[in-house]
Amino acid sequence: MAAFLLRRLGHAMLVLLVVCTVTFAIVHAAPGGPSLLADPKLSVAERAAIAERLGVDRPIPEQYARWLTRLARGDLGNSFLYETNTASTIAQRLPNTLLLAGTALLITIVVAIPLAAWCAERPGGWLDRIAGALAMGAISIPVFWLGIVCILVFAVRLGILPAGGAVGAEGGASLADRARHLVLPSLVLAAAGTAELLRYTRASARQQYARPFVRAARAKGVGERAVRWRHAMRNALIPAVTVIGLQLPRLVGGAAITETVFSWPGMGRLGIEAALARDYPLVMGITLVVSAGVLLASLLVDVAYLALDPRIRPDQS
């Protein structure tokens, strides 16, 4: 197990290097260049001075070498947009994204798995139909749209929840205040993922119910609860774990749109700002952090496979 983990970690580092190189190439090849240089009012001399200060007047391979050298010393460089250290800029935003994405993930798991078990057992029942229709709706509505409609209904019309931000503007950062601000964005972010997990899990649980060993268990007189959790759901959870693993990067990266709609001070929004402004150090820093997080999550998913299905051996993954 330890050897397996070590080898996977080694692979992950390699993948990370590839990811960074590819991202660096794409970002630098993109037209436009840093938005700092795009102010049409700058004189030629001013523009040249800024380019020199940012180091973007150097050839791209040289810039990449510099970036790698600095990275080796643990320095992600200074953001163009913010004139601040990239690592600390990300560190300020990361907890907010983890909070939002973590809450959404928790909602997804807590709602989808039990609901899927229930629905798979009673296909065509009233709850199955309602859940199916809601899930269909949730995966069919653009997330920004759901967010805006929620703001209009709950903040503008009803006035019961805040329209945006992570804390009240007047500095009230009590837990209750934070929780109120978390409600709409986390539900909106969780909606599509919950629907997706529900559909996959329900589909695979139904397959399990049809499989001979479940029938056999029932025939042997095993209780319904035991059939559900020990036999049917346990196998249905294997694809569910995969689906959850796949949702992780989307939760972090894809939270960007939810974060923009709800003015949530997270890393996803920062990433979009950085990409649009061609803030090279910030884009690279965020890519590095998100990629490392996702690789770690994928490692955890593989470990979860091992836990759920002892027939899958480490040497096969």
């Binding site: 004189s43 973590g102 934070r178 060993f213």
Partner: protein, 544 residues
């Protein structure tokens, strides 16, 4: 064959449980870390006036230094934190701020300012002429990261005469000087910033800025908000508000929703948003002419935009009134030349606007050799069609719709316009700066002065259309060194007449800034929000 009936081992549940615990742990940690805003303790915050908190949106975290700030949001905050020597009044004329009075030498090359005595920085340190010299030494230093250098290129040096007297030495007389002093040139504290590059002063720029303005920074929560409280040392009329909060709300539609939900008090909007704020309870819509002109830039190095008559004809083929009514919802003014109506002292309203006259346009184009063929397309003697690629930056509905209207109007006289939307940075760097474009729909926001030397004098860096007109060149050169306001007005009126004959660009409209504000707001001067923020001590909110 036997059927295997797998069951779940106890260990798996234990692991699942510990996974859930770990997840909750991460969440709890995230909550704790995310809760910790960076509170900046300050001493006294002044006595409460008639109070209230005014909330204004920003689209991202500002850079709290007026000399290096690159974006509009930063500029807005810095106008509150960092007063300049002068500030614009409601006629956009410079009036005293940190300077009490000033005098100009007979040759116009030396301007001496008497500073207001007893002014203190937010940290209590005394303000003096050394701070003024330090600030302008930074501004004119190419290596400092200064974004204001081209505004003050005329300065050859700054002398401290005594602690409250400072003299600027200029290379030539420079008429826009005072206006520019009141525009973005906030004064920085020498005692906190000397010795290191301005861009490296991260703690100052991001968390602990120190200015002399009526409000000072109390709390900065990155990505969320910036809370300003009253400055107990403020030298002017004591501020009426308790606090100004700049909230980071990147999306304009979200800003509108927050205004309606009572979470913001003052936003500027696009014409497309008007319908959602007009008639909303507790919200007022204000409009102010701003110093901007929106135009179609025609690359005059392209042969088909010559002679000048062709550009005039194109201008007459565009129905500006329809654009102003349809796209701008009447929140714009009908243009003459490139000097907008907001510059009341210089705008020549005696000049008749370019008429919408597609038939006359066709006649003028015919004189220039362009005739409509059987297919309706305009062609020259060689049979080539008149095609224009019109570039527009993406994401702004006003400019996109204006581009569509221009396309449709020019199609009526047989000119094929293809619209290409691009990201603004790519538009500027890859097309405009290298001169690789036919036409772009773009705009200039200028200081409240008619000097447009940098944009329309031949050979200047910002003259992207490469327009060259000898008479305009001499008028623009004369206008910036003429200090007498009557003579200056005559010069710029003459410049606008030249522009009507030989249009450097096709000006489409002068937009008005649309401000959607809470009806409780008082004391807000009738100025664009950026200039209005120079008077933040006058703002107040009526009690609910």
């Amino acid at each position: 064959m036997t059927m295997r009936v797998p069951t779940l081992p106890h260990g798996a549940w234990r692991r699942a449980l510990s996974g859930a615990l770990a997840l909750s742990g991460i969440l709890a940690l995230a909550i704790v870390v995310a809760c910790g805003g960076e509170s900046v303790p300050h001493s006294a915050t002044g006595k409460a006036g008639n109070g209230g908190t005014l909330r204004i949106p920003l689209i991202n975290d500002p850079i709290l230094d007026p000399v290096i700030a690159p974006d509009i949001g930063s500029v807005m905050v810095n106008k509150v934190l960092f007063p300049g020597l002068v500030r614009p009044d409601e006629q956009l004329r410079p009036t005293p701020d940190l300077a009490e009075s000033w005098s100009t030498s007979a040759d116009g090359l030396r301007i001496t300012f008497k500073l207001r005595p007893g002014v203190k920085w937010h940290d209590g340190a005394p303000f003096s002429a050394h701070d003024v010299k330090f600030t302008f030494d930074q501004i004119i230093d190419l290596a400092s990261g200064s974004r204001l250098r081209s505004d003050f290129a005329a300065i050859s040096g700054v002398d401290v005469d005594d602690s409250l007297t400072v003299t600027f030495r200029l290379r030539t007389p420079f008429a826009p000087f005072l206006t520019l002093l009141g525009y973005n040139a906030g004064i920085l504290p020498k005692h906190l910033l000397q010795g290191a590059p301005l861009t490296a002063a991260t703690d100052f720029n991001r968390k602990h800025p120190v200015g002399t303005g009526p409000f000072m920074v109390q709390t900065v929560v990155p990505g969320t908000s910036l809370t300003l409280v009253r400055n107990p040392y403020y030298y002017g009329t004591p501020p009426r508000l308790d606090r100004i909060v700049f909230k980071v709300v990147p999306d304009l539609n979200a800003q509108v929703a927050q205004l309606r939900a009572g979470e913001l008090d003052l936003i500027t909007i696009e014409p497309a948003n008007l319908a959602s704020v007009q008639g909303a309870p507790g919200i007022e819509v204000l409009q102010v002419p701003v110093v901007q002109h929106y135009y179609v830039a025609l690359n005059t190095t392209r042969g088909r935009f010559h002679p000048a008559e062709v550009r005039r004809a194109l201008g007459m083929a565009i129905n500006r009134e329809a654009i102003i009514k349809g796209v701008l919802r009447d929140y714009a003014d009908l243009p003459r030349g490139t000097i907008p109506v907001a510059l009341r002292d210089y705008f020549a309203d005696s000049i008749a606007p370019t008429p919408y006259a597609p038939d006359s346009a066709l006649a003028m184009l015919a004189r220039a050799g362009w005739r409509r063929g059987a297919d309706g397309a305009l062609r020259d003697a060689h049979g080539s069609t008149f095609d224009i690629e019109l570039l527009v930056d993406k994401g702004n509905p006003t400019r996109e719709q204006s581009a569509l209207a221009v396309q449709q109007d020019l199609a009526k006289i047989g000119i094929h316009v293809s619209i290409r939307t691009m990201e603004f940075a790519a538009l500027v760097r890859d097309r405009i700066l290298p001169g690789n474009f036919d036409a772009t729909l773009i705009w200039w926001t200028t200081p409240p002065d008619p000097d447009q030397y940098a944009f329309y004098h031949s050979g200047q860096d910002n003259n992207n259309v490469k327009w060259s007109n000898p008479r305009a060149d001499s008028l623009l050169s004369l206008g910036r060194i003429t200090l007498d306001s009557t003579q200056r007005r005559a010069i710029y009126h003459a410049f606008q007449r030249v522009e009507m004959e030989d249009p450097p660009v096709l000006v489409l409209f002068y937009p008005r800034e649309i401000q959607a504000v809470t009806a409780r707001l008082e004391g807000f001067p009738s100025l664009g929000i950026r200039d209005a923020l120079r008077h933040s001590e006058r703002f107040a909110l009526r009690a609910k």
